[in-house]
Symmetry: C2
Subunit: 125 residues, 2 copies
Amino acid sequence: MIHKQKVRRSTRQRRLILDAVKDSLNHPSASDIYATLADSGIGIATIYRQLSALVEDGEIGSFEYQGEVRYDPIVQPHAHIVCSKCDKIWDVALPKGINNLAPTNDSFENFDVDLTWKGVCNDCR
Amino acid sequence: MIHKQKVRRSTRQRRLILDAVKDSLNHPSASDIYATLADSGIGIATIYRQLSALVEDGEIGSFEYQGEVRYDPIVQPHAHIVCSKCDKIWDVALPKGINNLAPTNDSFENFDVDLTWKGVCNDCR
DNA sequence: ATCACTATTGATAATGAATATCATTATCTT
DNA sequence: AAGATAATGATATTCATTATCAATAGTGAT
Ligand SMILES: [Mn+2]
Ligand SMILES: [Mn+2]
Ligand SMILES: [Zn+2]
Ligand SMILES: [Zn+2]
């Protein structure tokens, strides 16, 4: 029983939004992307819809921070460092062997890890 | 230069809210606590205010999940397992030695780690 | 116990992120 | 080119959380 693949049309809006995330450096929110594409005329609803769709399709990553969803051009698993002063976010490699440290009881099947270190960055000290 | 301690009054509302979180088992949200204390007459604004204050005072923990803040009776650092189907959350010990795996560049001072494993629980399979 | 000071409360308005609605438009298949 | 329908954009709506402010109630001093 193969799950039917949802047909996704290639629209100008989808391409622009994907490119904006792929070119981003700061884990942008939906309104960040909206601002970046301000002169494209893309509506805010489309920004939200396509960002969700792109995550669902595995084209981009996402996580929530400070009450809003942030998007990530990197889809490979990785960890983040956040500064609690300026709220900047950096990418960092997952600790080697972290998957071996997963809680292995056979009543749970792990498939994803969300790891964030919180601290104060150099600029804020 | 000691930082002046903010004076915090002991009110009936604060005590009830703290007790509700301490007695909780399901990482409740603000509205969960509001529901639990429904017959106490405590206003929703007070629920939010005191939950924030209790976190600030280190009396309870908190983290965000699925677009809302969840509160935690356990203040000691620990990790969570969440089921992406039923959204239930379990406590789990932090992997031993996780702090040694922190990204150690001297331009960043780590003091907190947020670790969540996401998967599908037994009931949902 | 009473007083004065002010932190806290509760009702409610306001904010901000995200979703729902729906007529119109654009994409894809034939 | 035509038909089917996914996608869009304007906007209304939902939902969590915060702001406002007059009234209330802890607290420390008398
Ligand atoms: Mn990242
Ligand atoms: Mn917990
Ligand atoms: Zn910083
Ligand atoms: Zn489950």
